[in-house]
């Protein structure tokens, strides 16, 4: 038993070391991104279900985009609040006729509008069907070659679409994920954001977590061809690929689901066998993260449920149809270490009370884990700085002091998320718990599909 633990732990350590050194040695100091003259057309799809509080945030990003060949499609997924009227009043929406591709099914469309102020912006008003359904509707009416999916609470960085464009110049790239940053981790004008760490602990924890997850983990996973989730908050796809995988599946983890479907497509279709998924670290979007423990718990439990749902849904496809790398990353790191391991880990304090003999081994494993994550925190800051995200000296000290504290406090919350999410999935796999936005209209449509459209599974 102990031997098995040590072997698994050894593999874990090796993966963590890869996460440390691949980004450290491969990321060079940021060269300014080149704006290519040749712009591929990009359709940005923003599903929205009861997003009146935040829907206008995304507009701010769109207005400032330094890109010309794009369109934005808001998909109102049967909101019961003022989402629709807000967009109407800000965009001067006019009814318009568009022809769908008729390749993926989705719920009925009530009306399609085009903005009179900014003709690149469209709105699809449809019957409620959940986030996946809304995305599918958006894809159906998208006219451009590339699709970017964006959460309603996310703001695109002005240069983000240029970066997506650059990444997709390579014909083999069929999908990619951008870098999601936390809005609360920045101060200043939207066009000149500076990283800031002046915020509460629970947000600081997420800021560091996102930075590490993207700059170290996603970076390395993309090198290893084993990205298992393109964050729904900001993903980019060739439209044809989305048609070829038959669009999104209705599940709480639709972003991990589509990522795995694309992997399966690569492994099982001749046409796509040389295709890859890319991580596009310079394509940035800003999203607001949960600011209370309760919201955070709800968000992470939802992610965990989505993950478990994907594991079960794809159970017959591992290795043969998904390939070794993706399967190993998903089953070993995410399922075994991330999920299954949480249960015995939570048992450790109890076990130590019963069998105190091996407490030094527990101390050893804990110290090693803590050391690795603290070191990852440091390396993350170096890599982030090379991408141009630099803290001021004073703030940096704060971050450095916070890292060790976070490792042994907030990090343990992960156990709670994973365990409760898994158990809740098993107990009742059909009832997704959805965070209600404050100020939401209480008049709900009959039998709504409670699909929260923002706060996708990010990391």
């Amino acid at each position: 038993m102990l031997m098995a633990t040590l072997i698994v732990f050894g593999l874990y350590v090796m993966i963590q070391i890869a996460y440390l050194f691949y980004p450290l040695f491969s990321v060079k100091k940021s060269e300014n991104s080149v704006r290519l003259d040749k712009e591929k057309g990009i359709s940005v799809i923003i599903p929205a279900f009861n997003e009146e509080q935040i829907i206008l945030n995304s507009l701010q990003g769109i207005i400032n985009l330094k890109y010309s060949n794009y369109e934005v499609i808001f998909v109102n997924d049967g909101s019961s609040d003022n989402t629709l009227s807000l967009l109407h009043s800000h965009l001067d929406l006019q009814p318009v006729e568009l022809v769908p591709a008729s390749k993926i099914s989705h719920n009925e469309i009530n009306q399609i509008y085009q903005s009179g102020i900014s003709p690149k912006i469209y709105l699809i008003d449809k019957e409620n069907g959940g986030k996946a359904d809304a995305l599918n509707a958006g894809i159906e009416y998208a006219s451009k070659e590339l699709i970017v999916t964006l959460d309603a609470d996310s703001m695109l960085d002005p240069l983000s679409l240029c970066e997506v464009n650059s990444a997709f110049q390579k014909e083999t790239v069929i999908a990619g994920g951008g870098l999601v940053q936390i809005t609360q981790g920045f101060t200043g004008n939207f066009l000149y954001l500076r990283p800031s760490f002046k915020t509460k602990g629970i947000i600081r924890y997420q800021i560091l977590q996102y930075l590490t997850a993207f700059y170290l983990h996603k970076m390395t996973q993309s090198k290893l061809k084993s990205i298992i989730v393109i964050a729904g908050a900001f993903g980019a796809f060739r439209k044809q690929v989305l048609f070829d995988v038959n669009g999104y599946r209705k599940t709480v983890g639709e972003d991990m689901d589509i990522t795995l479907k694309i992997h399966r497509l690569i492994k099982t279709t001749r046409k796509y066998r040389k295709s890859t998924l890319a991580f596009i670290p310079r394509a940035i979007c800003y999203t607001e993260c949960p600011s209370t423990l309760k919201e955070l718990v709800q968000q992470r439990i939802r992610w965990q449920k989505g993950f478990i749902d994907c594991v079960i849904h794809f159970r017959r496809d591992f290795f043969q149809k998904l390939g070794f790398r993706v399967s190993f990353m998903l089953l070993f790191e995410y399922l075994l270490l991330g999920t299954l391991n949480a249960f015995p880990t939570a048992m450790i304090p109890i076990m130590l009370l019963i069998y105190p003999d091996n407490y030094m081994v527990a101390v050893a494993l804990f110290s090693t884990t803590a050391f690795l994550s603290i070191y990852q925190g440091f390396i993350t800051l170096i890599v982030a700085a090379r991408f141009g995200s630099k803290y001021s000296f004073k703030q940096l000290i704060k971050v450095l002091l916070f890292i060790p504290v976070e490792t042994i406090t907030y990090r343990l919350l992960g156990l709670v998320f994973v365990i409760s999410g898994t158990i809740m999935y098993m107990v009742n796999k059909n009832s997704w718990h959805v965070t209600k936005r404050t100020g939401q209209n209480t008049v709900a449509p009959p039998n709504p599909v409670p699909a929260e459209t923002s706060n996708s599974h990010v990391i």
Binding site: M3, L24, K28, K29, D357, M360, V361, T368, F371, I382
Partner: protein, 311 residues
Amino acid sequence: MKKELLINLLFTFVFFFSFTMLITFFADDVTEALQYNDLFPKDENFELASCQQWTRDVRSFPLKDYEKAKSVPVLMYHRIIDEKDLDENLYEEDGSIVSTVVLKENFTEQMKLLKREEYTTLTLRELELFINGKLDVPKNSIVLTFDDGFKDNAYEAYPVLKENDFTAASFVITGSITKNEKDYKPGTFQYLSVHDLKNSCDVFEFESHTYNFHQRMKDGTPFLIGKTDKDAEADIRASIVNLDGSKQAFASPYGGFDDGNIQLFKDLGFNMAFTVVPGDVSRGTNIYEIPRKEIKPETTIEEYKQIIGLQ
């Protein structure tokens, strides 16, 4: 560019340096824990048969009547530790040394005394024959026994015994014998390795102290009493396999056994069994309840003389 590479190398160096430190720091604990959980396989043996052959040989002592022993002291030791290697784990709360430890200095003095007084150390087989009235042994006969099979027996007691041409019985918890050799760390809690057994088998005769029953139930009852006879039998059988079938003697952990156990010792074919009850061993002593006198850390040489019947 160059600065970047320097930073990378610096961080890499610091990482591997700290990581190595971390691993080195915990390496011993982890290996110990690994071996702690790893009992010696039940179906393998220590391969000591050839070097334990001497324990079967019975000497004959040409003795005049007045030279024959009426009783033979059987002494019980556990650990022999050099005074300089004592650490806080080996002291009780009241500041005395834990009762299973005899200081090497005292042990050496005791062995010198035995040598000076021309004592003969008997094998267990010889003791059995003496009890059964089939063998006469000289007056200054003695049986030395060591319980549990601590590693210090091979490193501290063995050279002293060897130097004085003495032999002793060692009751080992066979499951605790380690397959892999580990460095001897004086004063720490280590059991004999197979390698140690082989190195000291010309002085020690190894017998069973159970396979893995040197434990107590939650209420403190020794396993032999608390567990079922069936479990006890399976455990002791494993120890016999480890000892390559040797069934000359058995010693119960903590001296705890019941009538059912005695029947079991007989059924399994043990020739004799030892207790921890102090007393003399003479002709007709119950062969399955042989008393032993424990030597303690505080036993003075004068007391020792009394124990062995020299005064």
